[in-house]
């Protein structure tokens, strides 16, 4: 089961004693603020976690994988995420469940 906004709100309620409404709003605002910054062309660096970066991609020829028909992929701006050293190291230590 994946972690959702509700799980983050629950944690803020349990650990910081925000009430349920405050906790829910805080989580909403947190992700909204990152979206808003990126929308304004501002990249977001969260120390201890990672950096949300923006990249302008020029158009390139593409193909419909089903029909093989050529369709140009238009120029676009995309968001990429680069995890920080700390997160990388912690994830690398994860052995995996399989």
């Amino acid at each position: 089961m994946a972690l959702t906004k509700a799980d983050f709100a629950e944690r803020l309620f349990d650990e910081l004693g925000l009430n349920k409404r405050e906790a829910k709003e805080m989580v909403e605002y947190f992700f909204e603020e990152i979206k808003r910054s990126l929308e304004h062309g501002e990249q977001v660096k969260i120390s201890g976690f990672g950096k949300f970066e923006l990249r302008d991609k020029s158009s390139r020829p593409g193909r419909n994988p089903k029909t093989g028909q050529e369709i140009p992929i238009t120029a676009r701006r995309v968001v990429t995420f680069r995890s920080g050293q700390k997160l990388k190291a912690r994830v690398e230590a994860y052995a995996g469940a399989e």
């Binding site: 994946a2 959702t4 805080m26 929308e39 977001v44 120390s47 995420f81 912690r90």
Partner: protein
């Protein structure tokens, strides 16, 4: 003239700026609580990913782990081959709302860096 801080950090939004913005939006909360809340959210994301758990935030995106299979690496100094074991790396896939908003406003705002 740019401030010393902006010279060192570029013009990226940082965690402390995020905290400031969130404090302004929620004036009923003490700055200290906003700071703790942001740290708490980030720590929870770190914990989830480092225990192999996915994170799915509607409209924002999802974080998961991607497996990098074992490979033969090389010590760049000595040229010696080294066996590298498999490892996991964090991966983020932006959600539809984030993708659309960022792309639609790209004509209006330059990427600040």
């Amino acid at each position: 003239m740019p401030s010393l801080i902006s010279i060192f950090q570029g013009l990226n939004v940082t965690k402390s700026e995020l905290i400031e913005a969130l404090a302004k939006q929620q004036p009923h909360l003490a700055l200290k609580d906003v700071e703790l809340a942001v740290k708490c959210i980030i720590e929870k994301m770190n914990q989830a990913l480092s225990s192999g758990e996915r994170i799915e935030i509607r409209g924002f995106g999802s974080f998961s782990l991607h497996l990098r299979p074992p490979r033969l690496g090389r010590n760049p100094k000595t040229g010696e081959s080294v066996a590298l074991s498999k490892k996991y790396v964090p991966h983020f896939k932006p959600g539809k709302e984030l993708r659309d908003r960022v792309d639609e406003s790209s004509g209006k705002y330059k990427i600040i860096d």
